[in-house]
Each structure stands twice: as structure tokens, then as C-alpha cells.
């Protein structure tokens, strides 16, 4: 139906769900979602695969649903990864300008970038992304393109997102039995931000927090540059687990109470409130609504505090707003809570510039998988037709 070049597929093996999305890149450069497939996930904890067989089976299911919806066959995917092992750091690479007239040439830029990229990189870590931030020529900072300028010293700042090789390898393993190829491996935090933020928002300074089931990812943009990103292995599962332990109930009940009665903070209406859960014996069991909320509030509060702590002074750059995506952003009152902790305007994030018939387009849970599509679309535009060498793609500078 469609030519293969036009199709882009995103796959996320998440803690709550395995999700595949198929999109086509329209000739005008837009992105149309033509199929989404989702299946509950059982083989993932805290963003990382713990049961490979389950994960593989669920990938097959999710991809199958998406294929049926799209009427297209998936041959390769942009695979989203997350987990506590993923680290975002900003490195600086310095290169002295050797040419006699001190003109900065393209080779100087490449050298400075590669110094920055490979700095402090232990053997077992893989580079997932290296994203150029800006250059410093002698003392002048925030130079976007230094080629042709004069200077003695060129310094490149690069945001490098690395992951532990073996743990990234586990995600790849989940696909080895499925005949599905991998175009690229993408950090979920980055993909969520890509679909949530417009260029203007990135320029004004925005923070995207993806409150997933197993992990919480964040990415901070300012002046259209990715300033920081990272992941905390704390998510909605932790909220559920806290509730289960605090109210002494099972995880399944805790999850359903969280969805039905949960909220980001204790308000006057729920003080002394009771939740009645019908039981098989006839007499319903009663739980305290206030306790439920208090447990949830403590965890969510801590999660935002940890994000703020990770960002440190950089947080002030997010004056343009904080955007919450992921399943956790459905929690009632979450924006108010985040606003209280971060002291910044907080909004719910929505995937932007997507077209398609699917009802999932507006769902915050799908931000990262749609972000994979956006990442993929960008890559397809950059990719020279016919041969797609990942190595060559890595060498591309990627600055959106």
C-alpha cells in the first residue's frame, strides 16, 4: 500500500504497556498516524526487561494490532528505551585551531564534537544520542555555527545520552526472535519531548516530564537546545506499590483504587473519606481515602523534588512551562502539585502536529511512542535514500 520509505514505526516496551505506532510521512513533511497497537506489559519492571519471553510475546501482539489497523507490514522500528541506567550529561570538548589564519573549518568542528562525545565514556556504556548544544569560540559562548569564524580555541558542548550496553541489549533481545529490525534506539525521554514541544516552546524554555509506570523521564530545552535529560527509576508502579503496602491490600486493588479514587493531594473533601470495596463475602471492606491520597501525594511530591534536584539551577530555564505527559499525568490535581514543588507554570502535554484517525492521539500515555514516530520521520528526511547505515546516522548532527 505504502512504499517502505514512507512508513515509520515506533515501538516502546514499557512497564505498563508494550505499544507500537505506525505512521507515514506525508510529502509535505507532516506525520500521519495510521495504526496504533497496545498490549499490557508483564515482562518489564522499572522500565527494564525482566522477562524476555513475555516481552517478546507482547511485542508481537502489539505490533500485530498496529499492523492490522494500518494495513501495513512492519519491517523495522525505532525502539524506545528507558531505565535507571540511562544518563544524560553535558560534555565539553576542546580543540585548538591549528590553521595559520585561525579560521575554523568543518574538520575542527568535527574534532571538537568528537572530543566532547567521547569524554569520560566507560567501555560498557553505549552512546544513544549525542546532541550538539552550542560552541564557544575563545570567550564567546552560544555560537551556533562556528565554521568560518576566527579563533584560537574551539569548545563544543554536547549533550550525550548513554545507556548501559548490556541493559540496552536486553531491549534489542526482545526483538531478535520477531523478524523485526531496529532502525535506531531512542531514549524515551527525548522522544516524549519531541512530540510534546513545539519549536517555540523549546525556544522559550520548557521541561517535559514523562510520568511513566516504571520510570520518570525528563528533558529540558532552552533556546531550542536540549540542555539536560535524565531518568528516575520511579513511576506509577511505585505509587501503586506504596498504596498496596500502606493500605495492606493487593497490587491489583491498589491500582484500581488509584485510578478510581486517586489524586495528587489531600483536599478537604477527602479528609475522613472512606472507600468501600465490595467483597465476595458481602460485607464490603473499607479503606481510608485520606490515607490513599496521602500516600500518593508523598510519592508524587518526592518524584518532582527529585526531578528538581537533578536539574538543579537549570530548572530556572523552564520558565516557558513544564509539560507533564505519561500515564501519571492523568492523576487529578497533578499540575497543581507540580506547580507547588517546581514553582513554574505546569501544563498537561499533548502530542502536537499529528494527524490520523486514531483516538489515541491525544492520550498522554502515547507521547513517547508518537515521539518515536517524530524522531523517525526526522531521520527519514535526513537519511540518504537506499542505504541506511546507523553509523552514518550517528555521525549526523541532530539538533531539533
Amino acid at each position: 500500500m505504502f512504499k517502505r520509505e514512507q512508513i515509520v514505526v515506533g515501538l516502546e516496551i514499557g512497564t505498563a504497556k508494550v505499544c507500537a505506532a505506525i505512521g507515514i510521512v506525508t510529502p509535505a513533511g507532516g506525520l500521519q498516524v495510521i495504526g496504533v497497537g497496545s498490549h499490557p506489559s508483564t515482562g518489564v519492571r522499572k522500565g527494564e526487561i525482566v522477562d524476555l519471553n513475555h516481552a517478546t510475546r507482547e511485542v508481537r501482539e502489539a505490533v500485530g494490532i498496529a499492523e492490522d489497523a494500518a494495513g501495513a507490514e512492519v519491517s523495522s522500528v525505532f525502539l524506545g528505551v528507558t531505565g535507571a541506567h540511562i544518563l544524560g550529561s553535558t560534555n565539553r570538548g576542546v580543540h585548538p585551531i591549528a590553521s595559520s589564519d585561525r579560521t575554523i573549518g568543518p574538520s575542527d568542528v568535527t574534532a571538537a564534537l568528537s572530543h566532547a562525545k567521547l569524554q569520560n565514556l566507560p567501555n560498557e556504556r553505549w552512546i544513544l544520542h549525542h546532541i550538539r548544544q552550542d560552541f564557544i569560540v575563545d570567550d564567546q559562548a552560544e555560537v551556533k555555527d562556528p565554521v568560518g569564524l576566527l579563533g584560537n580555541r574551539l569548545e563544543a558542548r554536547v549533550h550525550v545520552i548513554t545507556g548501559h550496553g548490556l541493559r540496552v541489549g536486553n531491549s534489542i533481545r526482545a526483538l531478535t526472535d520477531t523478524q523485526i529490525g531496529i532502525d535506531e534506539i531512542v531514549f524515551n525521554g527525548l522522544s516524549s519531548a519531541m512530540t510534546t514541544l513545539s519549536r517555540a516552546q523549546k525556544d522559550a524554555g520548557s521541561l517535559v516530564i514523562d510520568l511513566g509506570a516504571g520510570t520518570t523521564e525528563f528533558a529540558l530545552y532552552y533556546r531550542d537546545i536540549l540542555r539536560h535529560s535524565g531518568v528516575l527509576a520511579v513511576g506509577g508502579d511505585h505509587v501503586t506499590n506504596d498504596i498496596a503496602l500502606g493500605l495492606r491490600i493487593g497490587t491489583t486493588l491498589a491500582e484500581s483504587l488509584k485510578i478510581e479514587h486517586g489524586g495528587a493531594f489531600v483536599d478537604d473533601r477527602c479528609r475522613g473519606g472512606r472507600i468501600e470495596v465490595p467483597s465476595d463475602t458481602g460485607t464490603p471492606t473499607v479503606h481510608s481515602l485520606e490515607h490513599l491520597r496521602r500516600i500518593q501525594e508523598a510519592r508524587l511530591e518526592e518524584t518532582f523534588e527529585l526531578v528538581a534536584q537533578e536539574l538543579g539551577p537549570l530548572l530556572q530555564w523552564a520558565r516557558g512551562g513544564v509539560y507533564l505527559v505519561g500515564g501519571g499525568s492523568r492523576t487529578p490535581g497533578i499540575t497543581a502539585l507540580a506547580q507547588r514543588i517546581l514553582q513554574l507554570p505546569v501544563h498537561l502535554g499533548r502530542s502536537q502536529d499529528l494527524s490520523g484517525a486514531s483516538a489515541d492521539l491525544e492520550q498522554p500515555e502515547y507521547a513517547s511512542v508518537f515521539g518515536l514516530l517524530r524522531y523517525g520521520a526526522l531521520r527519514l528526511r535526513q537519511k540518504p535514500k537506499g542505504f541506511a547505515r546507523v553509523k552514518q546516522l550517528f555521525q549526523d548532527t541532530f539538533n531539533r
Binding site: A84, A233, D237, T240, G246, S288
Partner: protein
């Protein structure tokens, strides 16, 4: 290998490992009735040195007959590999003491397994565990702590004898001899068993008291502390109470006020008077108002002029700090003994001289027998048995609610050690690598880490 020959007595004392064998040694000559001893070890050489005739060498397959080399995992494997051989040791017993030194291999690893077997055989299972000295190193302390937790959960109750606290008794001596300290530590674990067995085996007492002991301890998985004092002279009852209330093993009396099950046992010579017994029990029961108390008294002509009071206090492991000393300072730095926690003004007034203002009389002031007491000279006569059998209504077994508030005030505000057993566990993240962020395990619920109360 052949199954071990069965034991037949109703009360059995199983010494596990080298430390266990050493701890029961002083009991061998006590002449108990209906009590059998057995010594269990993985090391045949250690076993051969024991004077106990019933020796059980186990775990030969797991350790190749070489002992465990201080590895609790090996001790455990040794016991697990010989379950069927060990079972006859437990069949038909009513009460089994499992005596071991924790921190090494055999004692730490095998005792929880043995306690499980004992409970499976239907016996009331009491552990007596010595914990290592601080200077024996962190690893041993860690092993001991883990073993104690396992031991406690498989036995009905475990009496702990932290050897480090034995040292507190030698504070006044500048250079206590090593052998003396070790002997004292062994003696203490022996005394706790002796106290209990004497309470149970003296004729006439036993049936009622075993039932009570069982009710007190069965299935509680409690950690108990134990203390015994012996006094003589005209002030002997006051001395006994006073010494107990500042006994290092009872946290200077705090263990009693926090306990929820207490066993008081008093043994004295035939000259003992009712007022003396009344004095001791009233005062001690006033301290442990919240606890279920069972008391026992026996008269033994061999104890002429002496008074021996034994206290075993169990606290609920979920809400009390562990008795395991993490450092010795906590108990040796206090220069003066704190006020006695158990002196209610009304009871003091009723009993004449105020206990709190009484001058401290350290040591034993002579052994002059009390005059004027002429009593039947039968060798061993039970006087009291059962809970709350004393006349005073305030000695009822369970504290009434009005005095509960008073007791609360009496608990000293001490900084206790954080007991990690009491934190909720990690639930569905159990077994996964912990998410540690700046030293905090984020998998443990936030409300628990931040101390947010849920009530």
C-alpha cells in the same frame, strides 16, 4: 547415614555448635528431672570434646565432615541435607531448648532449620542465642543479626544473651580475664534455661505452668531478654528488685516496661516470708503493667538464705527496638543509673520505705541467714503458681486501661536504633535491584521513609 537414636524425655536441650555446647556445660551437673541433652555439630572434632553423650554429627554430605568455616549458608545447607536424620531428636518433646552461639556457621545457619523441625514436631521451641562480642567483627555481627531474625521467626521465642553486655558486669574490673568473661556469658545462657526448667519440673507446678508458658510464648516469634539476680541479707528483696531494674540485659528496666509478656520466677530457701515474695512481685509487676505476666515461686533448701529472681521478658518484635547491640556505648556510657522506671508513688507508700530514695547497695552484703523464720524443711515446695495468683487485684495478668497511660509516661525517651524490620518491605520490587538515590532506597514507600503517619 543412620537416623540418630531418638530422645525420650519431655524436655530437651539441644546444644548446637561449639558455642552451644559450651553454654549448656554448666547445666549438665544441675540434676534436672525429665531433661535430656544432645549436642549437634558439623565438626566431628568439636563434637568429640563434648561431655554430652548424645552427640549428633550432621551435614556430612554438605560440609564433607569439615565443619562450616563460619559460613551460615553452609550451616544451613548442612542441616537441610540431614533433615530426616535430625527428626528423631524432636519427636514427642513438649519443650525444646535450642542453644547456640550466633555469628559463626553452624549456630547461625542450622538453628533456624532445627527450630522449624522442633515446631513441626509439635514442641514449644525456645531458642537461647548468644550474640558475638563487638570486637569479633562486623561480619559476625551481621551474620548473628540475620540469623537471629531467622531464628526468631522459626522458633516460638528466642532468648538473647548479647555477650557484649556481659562485659558491662565486669566494668569495675580493670582487666577481666577472658576465661571469666566467657564463663559468665555461658553461665547466663545456662541460667535462663535452668530458671525455666526448674519452674517447669518442680513437682506440682509443672502442668499449669507449662500451659501458661505455652500460652505466653507459642507462635509469638518474640525476642526475649533474660536476667537473673541472686541476693542475700536482710535487704535481699529490695536489692533483687533494684538490681533487676538496672540490669544491663533488661535495658535498665526498660525492657520490662515495654514487654508484653513477662515470666517472673522466684526461688528461695525455706525461710522466705510472704512479705518478701509480695514485695518482689508487686514491684516487678508494677513495672510491666502492660504485659501478660506469669509468676512462679519455688522453695529449695539448697538456697538457704538466698533469693534468686529470674525474669524473662518478651517484646513484640514489630514495635520494639531490637536487643541486638549495635554498639556497646549505648549501655556503658551512662555514668549513673537512671531512676527506676517502676516505682508508682502509691505502691511505694504502701510498701514502706520509698524504693527510689533507698540508698544503692551494690554487691551482696553478707550471707547472714534471716532469723525468726521457721518453716517446714521440705526440700522443694511450690508456693505460687500461675498468673495473677497473688492476692492483690492490681496484679491481674493484663494491664487495665487506666494504668496504661501511666506506663507510657514511664518509658524513657531514648533514641532507639532504627529497626529495618519495621519498615514496610519493597512489595513488588522485592528481588529487583534497589533504586538507590543519594543513599535512599526509592522502592521503599515514600510515606514510610518520611515517617508520614497513617492514622
Amino acid at each position: 547415614m543412620e537416623p540418630t537414636s531418638a530422645l525420650t524425655a519431655r524436655y530437651r536441650i539441644l546444644a548446637v555448635g561449639r558455642a552451644g555446647a559450651a553454654a549448656v556445660q554448666p547445666l549438665l551437673s544441675a540434676g534436672f528431672i525429665d531433661v535430656e541433652f544432645a549436642v549437634l555439630d558439623t565438626d566431628p572434632e568439636a563434637l568429640a570434646q563434648s561431655p554430652i553423650t548424645h552427640r549428633v554429627h550432621f551435614g556430612e554430605a554438605a560440609t564433607f565432615g569439615l565443619g562450616t568455616g563460619s559460613d551460615p549458608a553452609r550451616g544451613r545447607a548442612a542441616a537441610e541435607s540431614d533433615l530426616e536424620r535430625l527428626r528423631p531428636l524432636f519427636a514427642g518433646a513438649r519443650l525444646i531448648f535450642i542453644v547456640a552461639g550466633l555469628g559463626g556457621g553452624t549456630g547461625s545457619g542450622a538453628t533456624p532449620v532445627l527450630a522449624r523441625l522442633a515446631r513441626e514436631a509439635g514442641a514449644l521451641t525456645l531458642g537461647v542465642a548468644t550474640l558475638p562480642f563487638d570486637c569479633e567483627g562486623r561480619q559476625r555481627a551481621q551474620h548473628a543479626r540475620e540469623a537471629l531474625t531467622a531464628f526468631r521467626s522459626s522458633a516460638d521465642a528466642v532468648i538473647c544473651v548479647p555477650k557484649q553486655r556481659v562485659l558491662a558486669q565486669f566494668k569495675e574490673q580493670e582487666r577481666p580475664a577472658l576465661t571469666e568473661v566467657l564463663a559468665a556469658a555461658n553461665d547466663l545462657s545456662g541460667q535462663s534455661i535452668r530458671g525455666l526448667i526448674q519452674l517447669l519440673t518442680r513437682p506440682g507446678l509443672m502442668p499449669l505452668d507449662f500451659a501458661h508458658l505455652e500460652r505466653l510464648l507459642r507462635g509469638r516469634h518474640a525476642e526475649s531478654c533474660f536476667a537473673t539476680v541472686e541476693t542475700t541479707g536482710p535487704q535481699r528483696t529490695r536489692d533483687a528488685v533494684e538490681q533487676l531494674l538496672r540490669h544491663p540485659f533488661l535495658d535498665r528496666g526498660q525492657a520490662l516496661s515495654e514487654a508484653d509478656a513477662v515470666l517472673l520466677s522466684l526461688a528461695a530457701g525455706p525461710e522466705v516470708s510472704f512479705t518478701e515474695i509480695d514485695h518482689v512481685f508487686t514491684h516487678l509487676q508494677n513495672v510491666c503493667e502492660r504485659a501478660t505476666v506469669i509468676t512462679g515461686t519455688s522453695i529449695d533448701s539448697a538456697l538457704a538464705g538466698r533469693l534468686v529472681v529470674t525474669v524473662i521478658a518478651s517484646r513484640n518484635p514489630t514495635n520494639a527496638p531490637s536487643a541486638i547491640p549495635l554498639s556497646s556505648e549505648a549501655h556503658s556510657t551512662a555514668p549513673q543509673a537512671p531512676p527506676l522506671p517502676g516505682s508508682r508513688p502509691d505502691s511505694n507508700a504502701a510498701l514502706g520505705p520509698d524504693l527510689m530514695s533507698a540508698p544503692t547497695l551494690p554487691g551482696v552484703p553478707g550471707t547472714a541467714p534471716l532469723g525468726g523464720h521457721t518453716r517446714d524443711d521440705s526440700s522443694s515446695v511450690p508456693v505460687f503458681a500461675g498468673s495473677g495468683s497473688l492476692a492483690s487485684p492490681s496484679l491481674a495478668t493484663v494491664a487495665n486501661p487506666t494504668v496504661g497511660a501511666l506506663t507510657k509516661k514511664k518509658i524513657k525517651p531514648t533514641q532507639s536504633l532504627l529497626n529495618f524490620d519495621t519498615l514496610p518491605n519493597r512489595g513488588r520490587f522485592e528481588g529487583l535491584p534497589a533504586t538507590v538515590y543519594q543513599g535512599e532506597d526509592l522502592d521503599i514507600p515514600t510515606y514510610a521513609r518520611r515517617g508520614i503517619a497513617l492514622n
